[in-house]
Amino acid sequence: MPDNWGYVLAAYGVAAAALLGYWRHLVRRGRALAASRRGDRGAT
């Protein structure tokens, strides 16, 4: 059977993109919430 490296790269690429995308989403959401919390504290 041929090695089909393209399929291997595609599978790892999709997994990496999904995990990295989710991690970045968490980082951004965490930063936005922390900033709004600091803003609230500053306002009071």
Partner: protein, 227 residues
């Protein structure tokens, strides 16, 4: 004791290191499989992803039961975070399995028992997340979601044993089965390392997700007070 964010950061670096070791073992240590060739290396993503998804959905079940029993928000945060990650890892399982299926089975998708039950599992927990997004009031959201989280867990054994219960194109379980695993030692070692790395990554992402849920609740409560 280290502050929580420092502990989380250490966990993140450990997860990254474990993933790099797992990649090294998958491509540098595990041999080329004799029948499928190098395309079999997709297994080192596919199998850890589905095992991590099982773990996530078991935690949704635990968190859901805990929330219904105690009404403590921490259980609901655990269930919600684990459900989100379960959907992510099930999505990776389906995508990597589909990519693996094309060169080995000649098709991206077939309505085989394992594939179909996994797709249903995915959709049930997407529904769980949609339900959470539709209900604003935290206590009602937690109760409704907990019921779905408990009922949805019935799908986990269906997915796992589907290859035993029905005639399936998908191969039977070679790990988590009653018989000793027939996998060669270097392949098993690479698989175990990647499984450990995925589990570590899952724990890291779950801790971060729960921290964010706590901040979101504080923001919601602050907003409700301001109104």
């Amino acid at each position: 004791m280290m502050p929580r964010s420092a502990t989380t950061r250490v966990l993140g670096w450990l997860a990254l290191l474990a993933l790099l070791v797992g990649l090294g073992l998958a491509f540098g240590y595990a041999p080329r499989e004799s029948i499928q060739g190098n395309v079999q290396r997709i297994m080192y993503v596919h199998v850890p992803a589905v095992l991590t998804a099982y773990l996530a959905f078991v935690l949704v079940l635990v968190g859901s039961i805990g929330y219904l029993a105690s009404a403590r928000a921490g259980w609901d945060r655990l269930a919600a975070g684990a459900a989100e990650l379960g959907v992510l890892f099930t999505g990776i399982t389906i995508a990597s399995g589909s990519i693996w299926g094309k060169p080995t089975w000649g098709t991206w998708w077939t309505w085989d028992a394992r594939l179909t039950s996994t797709a249903i599992l995915f959709l049930v927990y997407v529904g769980y997340l949609l339900l959470r997004a539709m209900v604003d009031e935290p206590e009602r959201r937690g109760r409704f979601a907990a019921v779905v989280g408990i009922v949805g867990a019935a799908n986990i054994p269906i997915v796992h044993f589907s290859v035993k219960w029905w005639r399936a194109l998908h191969q039977p379980s070679t790990i988590l089965g009653p018989e000793p695993s027939p996998i060669a030692a270097p392949i098993a070692a690479a698989l175990a390392a990647n499984w450990a790395a995925f589990t570590l990554l899952f724990v890291y992402l779950l801790v971060r997700r729960i921290e964010i849920a706590r901040l979101e609740e504080a923001a919601f409560l602050g907003g409700a007070r301001a109104r």
